[in-house]
Amino acid sequence: MAARAGSPEAVAFPPNWAARAAWVVLAVYVVYAASTMDFTWSRFVTGLDNGARFIGKMFPPDFRRWELLQKGLLESLEIAVLASFLGIVLSLPIGFLAARNLMPSWVTWPARAVIALCRSFHPVIVAILFVKAVGFGALAGLLALTVASIGFIGKLFAEAIEEISLKQVEAVRATGAPFMSLINFGVMPQVFSRFVGFATYQLDSNLRNSTMVGIVGAGGVGGTLFAAFQRFDYDFVCAILIAIIALIMVGEVLAVQVRKIFASDTRAKAEDD
């Protein structure tokens, strides 16, 4: 029923009752969840006190066992780089197979299932599974992070491909190009810079995760960190944490450089102006 302009029933901004109800439900749940968790002020204050003592024990950081620290960090780095490389290489074809605008549904469904499976567990859970399967050590961490990488890059890559302009693909198809050339000339140029973005983000994420899978025995500096915690060597813990921060920052700088090299528009738009 269309309300006539100027008539009393014409409303410029009709209320969205569904959205209002959703806000109310969210607010009620937040209050309920907080009430079930024994979340009192006094407990928070005691916690602060405890935290202050813990931090006090962490300083000054103890770098005397730097060889152990270095060994762990280098192993983490190796896990992260290898897992990223393997993950990128494997997620490229899987991402293509999962793109619904390029492939028939009997291809995309299995590919999407693989991606969904890779994404369903946190890397730590996958790492536990691989530790049980292949034993303690870096191999388990490497495999766990590879799986995580396939899930992440594969999904985003497939979505990026689904957003491309099919007009450009159509034009390449009209030239009689074989399928691989269609992909290389019609599809890849449209998604490559985004793919590099996903890949460097995943490298960054793998660096962080590679310092953690060691906690469950899957190699890297995480194992050293966990052992230090258990022995109450809080000054060594602090040294490890500082080293991890440094590693992540170096990784960040590296990722920016990689993006610059691969995704930059070397043929800048305004080159000839």
Binding site: T175, G176, A177, S181
Partner: protein
């Protein structure tokens, strides 16, 4: 004209996107091995579908598409790709691969001839690259070879589109509203370029157009479509108000 001498023969071409609701209702058309055929008609009457059925970017529902003696409607796989590379196509929105250079876009016209891995490594045959430079020169874009395609203006992009299509060494050129995204002056320049280059190479052209004046000016033959069927087929001078009314319906626009 008999089928034996025509470059392209369409027989009973039908396309239904939704079963029972044909967009093309049995098109019969013969295209001579030379000259420009313009297909005019209102929006939504199946002009684009017709052109896309010819190189099978759209699958025809029924009918024959005989191109130089082969029925394209029956082809698939490598044979279809081999036929496609002999048919150049120019698009309304140019459809250049925007993030590739002008040179790479022009060389896209050779993708049907170059193995995929060689194309990927940009190892195109030297004569292809030489021909591409020559082609860019002849469409007036010689100094733009290394620029990205999306840095060009509309008219320049369509010139690259034409260069790409002609790089295929086609025996037929299809053009789907090649000037609809361009201003009037650039439209005429593009039509002149396309007509000139195809005449020089002896390539027949089938072009969809909105602009009746432009069709009259450049086409040797005009095919008027309405409601998925051919309602006029003849020269530009035969396009009387009466005929245009039959093609487009209504009349106030004719004044």
């Amino acid at each position: 004209m008999t089928s034996a001498t025509a470059a392209l023969v369409l027989r009973g071409l039908v396309k239904e996107y939704v079963p029972g609701r044909p967009v093309l209702r049995g098109i019969d058309l013969e295209v001579a091995p030379r000259g420009m055929t313009a297909v005019i008609g209102p929006s939504g009457t199946g002009k684009s579908t017709l052109i896309r059925c010819i190189n099978r970017l759209v699958e025809p529902t029924a009918g024959e598409i005989v191109f130089l003696g082969t029925d394209l409607a029956r082809l698939s796989g490598a044979a279809l790709r081999e036929a496609r590379r002999r048919i150049g196509m120019v698009f309304q929105e140019f459809n250049l691969v925007e993030r590739l250079s002008v040179m790479e876009n022009v060389l896209c016209g050779r993708l049907g001839y170059v193995p995929a891995w060689k194309a990927w490594l940009r190892k195109f045959p030297a004569q292809d690259i030489a021909a591409a430079f020559e082609m860019l020169e002849s469409v007036g874009l010689g100094r733009f070879a290394n620029q990205r395609a999306d840095s060009l203006s509309g008219g320049q992009r369509q010139r690259v589109g034409i260069a790409r299509a002609l790089m295929q060494g086609p025996q037929l050129l299809l053009a789907d509203e090649p000037t609809s995204s361009l201003d009037p002056r650039t439209s005429v320049e593009i039509m002149e370029l396309m007509k000139g280059m195809c005449t020089a190479r002896g390539i027949p052209v089938v072009v969809n157009m909105h602009d009746v004046q432009l069709a009259r000016r450049f086409a040797d033959r005009i095919v008027g479509m309405s409601g998925g069927a051919v309602v006029y087929d003849g020269g530009g001078d035969g396009l009387t108000d009466d005929v245009l009314r039959r093609i487009y319906g209504g009349e106030s626009w004719l004044a």
